[in-house]
Symmetry: C2
Subunit: 244 residues, 2 copies
């Protein structure tokens, strides 16, 4: 195992940060790493908004469902899927661009995620901790208004970065055999692997420092059922992503 | 700049590979790195199908629009967004799970992309080259049938991996100032930055080894307009992703 692989496998989310801000030069280096990720047809559909202003940070923490570390982390980035810039480029050449097809939504969303994960790896290589904030999609319209996003731009998720002030354990994952398959999809062993993982995750929750949680993966997945953010479809349509 | 950041910034897609296969142990280590990426609410919505069978590889190369390296690369992985396993877990607890909300589609698609990018970083750290294959979405129904994907699973993209048999230059990206913004979305300088990037990319195409291409970013974006894979919406609906 080389150092890069060790770094990747040591990931855990950090939700408690030291008060020091992340230096600008580090943020820029991290974002350059994001830009270096693969991008579909070089479309580069990622725009990253670093929110520095305290009042906006507080507001974002609230919009994300009261996650205080959104306001207190050393830096907070909002990763936006951006087809507005693509449209500008087309217009410069007398062309037009519509963001309303489902495929364009996929391209832009995947582009953002690839860039973000490169940012995360770069940040962790610098000793920073991170936490993705999907909670921005709790109230994406509020986020879009706060950040003055134009049409064909939507906030996919946020990212807290900062110097860690906690040292949580690595959460166990599903067995490799469930996730890596050969030649065709096979779920003959799926139930058994879920049951095995349930035990492993339950043990993790019982023994981790300060852990009082008593749950399994399948129980958590059952509880997730309701968290479907039913406003997303209409929100996206209003932003120019009709998902046609 | 540390070694990890240097690795990330050295990325370029590889489309010509030496004939050696990628050892199984390396594929497994790479996939473990993918599993270590952040995942929304620990849903782990990624299933990776390594296609080893020669006939299936040929068929996938054809389905992807005739990309021969899909068949010839040292390894080929299909990254699937998988909410079928989530449903199985819910059923084990007497619950139900629907994959039809847009939010669930976003969660699963982002999960896959984060995992894939970790796989890519791990692969490149091992000296392998990679190329994402979005072309699997040219005929996603054909891919789904070939790989026997159940409902609530869709192929997001493929990934070629192998030992590089070419050494292409790194493609320049948009200026950092266009991609990293502060506190709110600003596009006052967008046209100027696109025009500057057009010149830079045009110079890259003229001077790269064997380069006969004469284009700019804005011209490429204009040409993209038509590539919208209009079948995606209906395909996804049939797979259980109704995007409600």
């Amino acid at each position: 195992m080389n150092d890069v692989i060790a770094l990747l496998q040591a990931h855990r989310s950090i939700r408690k940060f030291k008060p020091e801000p992340v230096p600008d030069a580090q943020i820029e280096e991290i974002v350059r790493c994001g830009q270096a990720a693969a991008t579909s047809s070089n479309i580069q559909a990622t725009t990253i908004i670093r929110v520095r202003d305290g009042a906006r940070r507080e507001k974002l923490a609230e919009l994300a469902g009261g996650q205080s570390y959104v306001a207190s982390a050393g830096a907070f980035l909002v990763f936006c899927a951006d087809l507005h810039r693509t449209r500008l480029a087309c217009e410069l050449r007398g062309g037009d661009f519509s963001s309303e097809m489902t495929e364009q939504f996929i391209i832009a969303t995947v582009d953002v995620a690839l860039a973000a994960q490169n940012c995360v790896v770069a940040a962790e290589s610098l000793g920073l901790g991170i936490c993705y904030i999907g909670g921005l999609r709790n109230n994406p319209q509020g986020v879009a208004e706060l950040l003055e996003l134009p049409e064909s731009v939507y906030p996919v998720f946020g990212l807290c970065l900062g110097f860690p002030d906690q040292d949580p354990e690595i959460k166990p994952r599903l067995p490799l055999s469930a996730v890596l398959q050969e030649d065709r999809y096979q779920d003959a062993g799926a139930r058994a692997s879920i049951e095995g993982y349930d035990e492993k995750l339950s043990a993790y929750y019982r023994t981790r420092s300060g852990g009082t949680k008593n749950s399994t993966w399948s129980e958590e997945m059952k509880a997730l059922g309701g968290k479907s953010r039913p406003h997303m479809r209409e929100f996206l349509a209003r932003r120019g992503f009709a998902l046609k």
